[in-house]
Symmetry: D2
Subunit: 343 residues, 4 copies
């Protein structure tokens, strides 16, 4: 019963099969492989963006940091949610990659509202050279707490950014999960709203470790390539990144896996609700923040269930304690039901 994260499950068999199939002969290194041509074509089709510059790296933090370093100057500040992955979970990687840019945390605890973003932006950039310049806005979709911005919510955020002339980055580590929730087109959820650079996640949705970085305006391409190499994120045997991403984009595997993960989450959430769980955020995609009684935690953990929870098992057995539960595509309905059986 592993619900700790969507970064711990197996690689999807279709992906692994394609990796094995691609493992013949020599291939040009460093992104010049033929499979990468296909990846580029597919993603440009999917995003209706024939000029987009598209790159692969192995980690989400690399994708985010390299995209932000390309969009930001070291004397700027990046606007993001106060629980954004780039702030909380990347050990200063954005600061490192940008050469020392700051992050301005938009208060709210997860989703940014357009008003809160505007207030934060307005409060910066007023001090001449004394404070940092305003830099990119980074939006996380799916959010860190499992929410999904609606197209209208996104549009309000990008409107604010654009009114200040700021570039927009989207951290889409769980982009596919958000997309199937919104039932939107990839273009509608990104560049049509003004998103300049997208981290298009694959790792949390069945790949071994591949994320695409997509610049909808190719003017950033060459700088990004140099920054990727300088940061040691350009793979020599790049075809194995390409192969994963190509398998992901084939036969809608990326969408189907996200649908499966979201469906698993819905099944789990329904069960939790029925059992009296208190939701801390609405689970819009494949992640649940929920409280339930300590005695249930105790039983679950004794049974070997693994999930994020930051509290001790000693104390009032009826106290409602928070935890995070994440579903990926690979979790069976039986496992979910087994988990729920402990309530």
């Amino acid at each position: 019963m592993y619900f700790a994260s969507d970064n711990a499950g197996p690689v999807h068999p279709q992906v692994m099969d394609f990796l094995v199939k691609s493992n013949t002969g020599h291939a040009r290194p460093y992104g010049d492989d033929a499979l990468m041509d296909q990846v580029r074509d597919r993603l440009r089709d999917i995003f209706e963006a024939p000029d987009a510059a598209i790159y692969l790296v192995a980690l989400g933090t690399a994708a985010n940091s390299l995209a932000l370093a390309t969009l930001a100057q070291p004397f700027q500040t990046i606007f993001c949610s106060d629980v954004a992955h780039i702030h909380m979970d990347e050990c200063n990687a954005p600061e490192f990659y940008t050469g020392g840019a700051k992050l301005t945390l938009v208060p709210g605890g997860d989703k940014m509202t357009a008003d809160a973003l505007r207030t934060s932006i307005q409060a910066e950039g007023n001090r001449g050279v004394h404070g940092p310049e305003r830099g990119p806005v980074s939006i996380t979709q799916v959010t860190e707490r499992g929410g999904v911005y609606s197209i209208n919510e996104l549009s309000a955020l990008t409107d604010v950014a654009k009114s200040y002339g700021l570039p927009v980055h989207m951290d889409g580590a769980r982009f596919a999960n958000a997309l199937v929730t919104q039932n939107a087109s990839p273009a509608d959820m990104t560049w049509r709203l003004g998103v300049d650079a997208l981290t298009f996640g694959g790792t949390k949705n069945g790949l071994m470790g591949v994320e695409a970085v997509i610049f909808f305006d190719p003017k950033h391409a060459w700088e990004f390539e140099l920054r990727r190499k300088r940061a040691a994120h350009l793979f020599s045997k790049h075809r194995y990144l390409s192969a994963q991403m190509l398998a992901y984009l084939t036969d809608d595997l990326w969408l189907n896996s996200a649908r499966q993960a979201n469906a698993n989450c819905t099944r789990l959430a329904k069960g939790l609700q029925a059992a009296g769980g208190q939701f801390m955020h609405h689970p819009d995609a494949n992640m649940i923040y929920v409280k339930f009684p300590r005695h249930v935690h105790t039983r679950l953990q004794q049974a070997g269930a693994i999930y994020e929870a930051d509290h001790t098992l000693a104390g009032d057995p009826d106290e409602m304690l928070p935890c995070r539960l994440v579903c990926d595509w690979s979790i069976s309905s039986g496992l979910i039901d087994e988990f729920l059986s402990f309530f």
Copy 2:
């Protein structure tokens, strides 16, 4: 006929099989997977270094830069060959990772001699705060031109470094190839000589993309872990790095693959010698720098042979022109003979 590099061949089937076999269920992310425990045990055994701190990353440039950033301060200079990979082929990654340390190029054109190294070190660090402090010495084994330092040569270099109190890094992207050439033990070629940190390469010897960083003194461990995470080189689905490395270390695959690559190279070198090729460096491992007539280049390239050569095909057909030929484990003797048939 692909002799351009050892970074373009297929993943060894035993590695791919083990990847497939490891692809079940959930595994703890970020290096806490059970396979990594085995990797650590195996490498400590192989290196007779029970306390060594051992980490995996996917790229050689990452391994080198993170190791150097851990050993060096930003106000220091790193001593290396004037054709070292860290200088020529990493797009300023060492400068980026160290926060702006300098590289001091020891002249010689490939192998460093102890005398040249001493002269370079002596010339730095004499200017108080005005010049950089002396920092780590980085030795490449196999060298960039296909040479292998003898144990005595290495010992002379590390003696110089130690006489100045400087730490030593070894860039062992082709460590296995060097080891089988020297028929030395891993410990004898590293920490017994005073090597502090080793980039233990796998990618060029049959892996998809994994290098180990080994600190023989574990005092560097925690700083390295933070630097790896900050640089976005800590894989969430780390088990797939572990699995590759474990397969590599199983049944001497790493040594056997290196022996095969070196044997392929020897076969090719003998043929080239017989055909009048002029060797620019002695091919000690799996790489050949050689000159042969333009008319042979012409025929080879018309036949689709791929290898590094920096000259035009127009000109005197008998002019001797340089090129680089690299063999990996996967090249068949038939392919080598086919290549030689064009002479």
Copy 3:
């Protein structure tokens, strides 16, 4: 009527006289001048710290950033007030100098409380390699809003820092002003409480541009010297920094100037109180944050008074509007009375 800042007044005549007097013959450059020996002796006496390592730079931001870069690692976070100069007014200098460390803003709006600091520290450093490590605590004395921490308040803060094993930096751009308010000894306000590094300001208190950085533990000395040089803050004609600082420390000029500035501020504050000004913070030293009616602002600004105020003069004449008023040693009582006459 210039109350905008204490960085705009003249150099104290005693300082200028000593600069002129020191301007004969040649002097060893780069801090090896004889005057610097005297500065070092004087400051060690004043701080009762015979082993302290002492350096001069020209700017407060340089002093802060270099001190913090010496105490912090790039994968750490620095704890400071949410209005600290290092956060608000240095255009990412601490991030630049540390190589990308983060600042964690302790909420409160000016003074940090021990509880708020503890909560902020506790919330960091719990995420293994995913979040930054805990780094130095930076305390501003005088605070940005004109407050002065009592010895007890400081002690509570340094106790929290020490309980986590964190080094402490004090931004003492207005150290002398705080000292005369507290009537404490320099040692009691710094190292006896656990302060590791002090920015000892001179520029805002009558110098042309000199701040001392004092490390009470000299183990940081050589690293600081290299960082200072690398950051281009080591003056060749260093004697002119030494001369300023020596004049500052002679005949208690530093304390007398601070007393004069604080007395000027008290005179102004009393007048403002009598005139119905609403104090936003208690003016403990030489800075006042106060609100008074728009019609007074209008008259003052028409009369050419210069001070920081972020609002328009159009609007309800009776509306109470905020501003900042700063006194340095050079402001005459007549000027203060003239300012007050507009109320």
Copy 4:
């Protein structure tokens, strides 16, 4: 008898007088002082560059590093002489300020030739993303060994730079000394040749510590201002930088002081030549690299003469030993003759 450097003499009395004279009342901080307006006007006149963006900092290393950081990207390499100050004497400051750019050392030992520069540039930028991109060319005028490039020599260098589309920086720490040697106009020695950014030195020519950075194309202005502030090189009490520079530019003080320094050097050089000194470089400005017998060194040093020499006094008394002798404007002809009397 101080001939060690031109960074150790007194501030010119006219400069000190003007500093004293400027020390009244309040002045707007951070470069908004009225004196800076005059500095800007004067320098624009002198350089016939009405649009130039002009800034003051206190140190030559700051001027060089900030100018280069504005012109270079972190994934580029800067071309300079193999003995350039930015390489030898700034403790990695250019690497720090640029965020990790590399320096490519053009061989030659002091002056760069156009051919050597072209060869160095040509050898870089051929490796796609693997090596650094080509970045700015930095030319030192007066050179580190006391040479002065002719306008033709400079033109040949800037032509090479421009043929690759590279920006040009001139390190003019001794710009005035070069100018009076060449008897050229400031515009002819800079922007008319294609120099983009100039470090216009004052410190080595009689100021306390001021250098101007001049961008002939103002497009770099705002970025420079942010970088200067971020690096802690924007003075609050900026008027004292302005005052120094204004005095320097008044009544040709800058040119007269340089003429005096060069004349002192000529007098010294003639004496050395007559005494059998062996010149290692032709002394074109105010610096001499010369060898003379050990027994003369012995006598000079026993008499308290101070100059740079890197050898022991024990050994063959007739051995010719190298040293560096630098003259500033303040050295009397009597002192020079006294020095020569030891031969």
